[in-house]
């Protein structure tokens, strides 16, 4: 008996997708609006993309944001991976519960509190706010996401693989880079991408911890919206969406292709 999706499934999927994507679709459509008014359609045009490219302050903000996100993702991945290794590997060391609690706290901490406390810290120690304070703040709140992703990968990791490497003469450092890291790499890469995205679209923490000359794109957009939304903002957002979508697509295609290859290889092996 063939069973198609019921009307209930169809409706719920349609509603769900509509809820998630209609605002984005409208945003993309209006980025091609001829009119200066965001809400009134006046014909197709790409002039806002041209004007976006000549808006130096907007481009500067985008560049700052990307640099912050790249640095944040890299630092958070290193620290988050180390934290995950510690939590999974070193069993019941003194203060483990406290450590894991502290690692995961930013996961549930409201952004406003993280931002405010970091601001107070930077003021207290007299640290000049700017590019680096935003990076530090972003590493603080994205690291725990990396830890969660890497930890889940490490839990299923067969410890005897590391023992085998040590047994064959690899030093602990060599073992980590030749055996452990390649095997947890999917988790590490996923963690990096997560940290990158989180940093890219953070507004609250960046507003608290930034200083002169380090305005990120979300901050820029937010401040412009307060002065009135122009379709230029829509154009910027459309470009951002395009970049993110491309990244996600590439990642999923690569994963899919690997999976198919692996399954084919396993079939071959079973056939002898």
């Amino acid at each position: 008996m063939r069973r198609g999706p019921s009307w209930f499934n169809v409706t719920s999927i349609t509603l769900g997708f509509a809820f998630l994507y209609i605002p984005i679709i409208i945003l993309v459509i209006y980025s091609f609006n001829e009119s200066k008014l965001v809400t009134v359609w006046a014909g197709f045009s790409t002039k806002w993309y041209v004007s976006m490219l000549s808006n130096q302050s907007l481009l500067d903000a985008a560049w700052v944001t990307v640099r912050i996100a790249l640095l944040t993702a890299t630092l958070a991945t290193i620290l988050g991976t180390l934290a995950a290794l510690t939590l999974v590997r070193y069993g019941r060391f003194h203060g483990r519960t406290l450590f894991s609690g502290m690692v995961y706290a930013p996961l549930v901490m409201p952004d406003v509190i993280t931002g405010l406390s970091l601001l107070l810290l930077f003021v207290a120690i007299g640290f000049d706010r700017g590019f680096w304070t935003v990076v530090i703040a972003h590493v603080t709140f994205t690291m725990c996401f990396v830890t969660v992703v890497v930890q889940s990968r490490l839990v299923t990791f067969d410890m005897s693989l590391e023992e085998a490497a040590l047994d064959l003469g690899a030093t602990p450092a060599k073992t980590f880079f030749a055996v452990t890291l390649p095997l947890i790499l999917p988790g590490v890469v996923a963690g990096w991408m997560l940290a990158f995205t989180l940093s890219l679209d953070d507004l609250v923490i960046a507003s608290f911890t930034t200083g002169p000359g380090a305005t990120t794109l979300p901050m820029k957009i937010y401040s412009q919206v307060r002065l009135g939304v122009t379709p230029e903002i829509n154009a910027v957002c459309t470009v951002l969406i395009a970049i993110v979508t491309t990244g996600v697509l590439i990642a999923s295609i690569v994963t899919k292709r690997r999976e198919v290859e692996r399954q084919r290889a396993e079939r071959l092996a079973i056939q002898g």
């Binding site: 067969d158 005897s160 693989l161 023992e163 085998a164 490497a165 040590l166 047994d167 064959l168 003469g169 690899a170 030093t171 602990p172 060599k174 030749a178 055996v179 390649p182 095997l183 692996r262 290889a265 396993e266 071959l268 092996a269 002898g272």
Partner: protein, 383 residues
């Protein structure tokens, strides 16, 4: 062919009987505790060069811990582990001249068979040409030449096992450690591989230390077996001695099938002893020097295949004999196991080899039968 070549060597190989021989691996009063749990308890043991030594025991008896102390994954809480005269304590695993074959094989999933075998050689900084030659040699040894480029998940269980073996042998370790190496294979393949392992060990002239809970495996491959229980060694002997002359009820019961009957010693002396056996309700006469006193509690242990079953009383008056009734028969194809209930209520097992293709059994259920065994058929155990 190979069997002929190794026969004489195996027959005459007994360094443990040579008072001048020095142990190659030595455990000196080794204790290992994990919290409150004592895994290894003040244990001393010597293993000789070129020996195939088996640590046998149930799970949790400390055999794996003992092996992991040789590999360097565990350090003894007290005592010393020596290899070739050198104290291993404090030396990390990657500087020890031992290699281990893991129970899970622990093949690196992201490397090909070739890279897996080359991994250890690369760590030593061996020249590339030498690595290629050595890996090819290893692939030939385990007959996996065509599989060099495959990844571990593209191999069958038996092939993976051979890759793991080749990888652990590639560096020519002083000692090869085998942790339940054949546990994941099916019975037929396991039996084949056991003989391959012994053959390989003889040809390479290396010292092998195997950990297993499978007594058949230990008996097939090993020169000597140490039977362990709760962190202590109960008996160290050759497979035949372990089987025929167990030193305790624990060893007798752990290895193979055995009838254990309780009793009290009524006479001890040179070349013979008598036991008033409660189980059989008769006196058991054994040709054995028993180092215990008259009146001590003891157990008579006899293997089922050494108990003869017959419908008439045995003609020879010198053998031990009791009568009973056939209670149950287990037909295993090659042998049949008879459970005979005695007048005392005890059950004695007797195994008969099925040498003919008789479907009708000459002795069947509820038959009145006689069980008999010679004076040297069984042993008296005092612990």
């Amino acid at each position: 062919m190979a069997a002929k070549a190794i026969g004489p060597v195996r027959r005459s190989f007994a360094p443990w009987n040579d008072p001048n021989a020095k142990p190659f691996i030595e455990f000196r009063n080794v204790t290992k505790t994990f919290g409150d749990f004592t895994a290894v308890d003040d244990l001393s043991l010597g293993i000789y060069e070129r020996e195939f030594f088996a640590l046998l025991g149930p799970s949790g008896c400390g055999k794996t811990t003992l092996m992991r102390m040789v590999a360097g994954f565990e350090e003894p809480t007290r005592g010393h582990v020596l290899l070739d005269g050198q104290d291993l304590v404090g030396i990390p695993p990657y500087r020890r001249p031992t290699n281990m074959m893991f129970q899970s094989y622990a093949l690196f999933p992201h490397m090909s068979v070739w890279e897996n075998i080359a991994f250890g050689l690369k760590q030593d900084g061996m020249p590339k040409a030498d690595i290629v030659a050595r890996v090819d040699e290893m692939l030939t040894l385990v007959k996996l030449e065509q599989f060099a480029k495959r990844k571990p998940h593209q191999l069958s269980g038996g092939q993976r096992q051979r890759v793991a073996l080749a990888r652990s042998l590639a560096k020519k370790p002083k000692v090869l450690l085998l942790d339940e190496p054949l546990g994941a294979l099916d019975k037929k393949l396991r039996e084949e591989t056991q003989f391959e392992l012994t053959d390989l060990q003889m040809r390479l002239g290396m010292t092998f230390l195997i950990v297993t809970h499978d007594q058949e495996e230990a008996m097939t491959v090993a020169d000597r077996i140490a039977v362990m229980d709760r962190g202590k060694i109960i008996q160290i002997a050759t497979p035949a001695e372990i089987y025929e002359q167990p030193n305790s009820r624990y060893v007798a019961d752990f290895i193979g099938d055995i009838n254990l009957l309780e009793g009290r010693l009524s006479s001890v002396g040179a070349g013979g002893a008598k036991l008033e056996c409660v189980g059989t309700g008769a006196t058991v006469d054994v040709a054995q020097d028993v180092s215990a006193r008259v009146g001590d509690q003891a157990w008579f242990a006899i293997r089922p295949e050494k108990v003869t079953i017959s419908l008439t009383p045995p003609a020879d008056p010198n053998v031990n004999a009791v009568s009973g009734e056939v209670w149950d028969i287990g037909y295993l194809g090659d042998v049949s196991i008879y459970h005979v209930r005695l007048a005392t209520g005890a059950t004695v097992k007797s195994t008969i080899t099925n040498t003919t293709r008789l479907v009708e059994r000459p002795i069947t259920w509820e038959d009145k039968v006689w069980l008999s065994w010679t004076r040297d058929g069984g042993v008296v155990l005092t612990r």
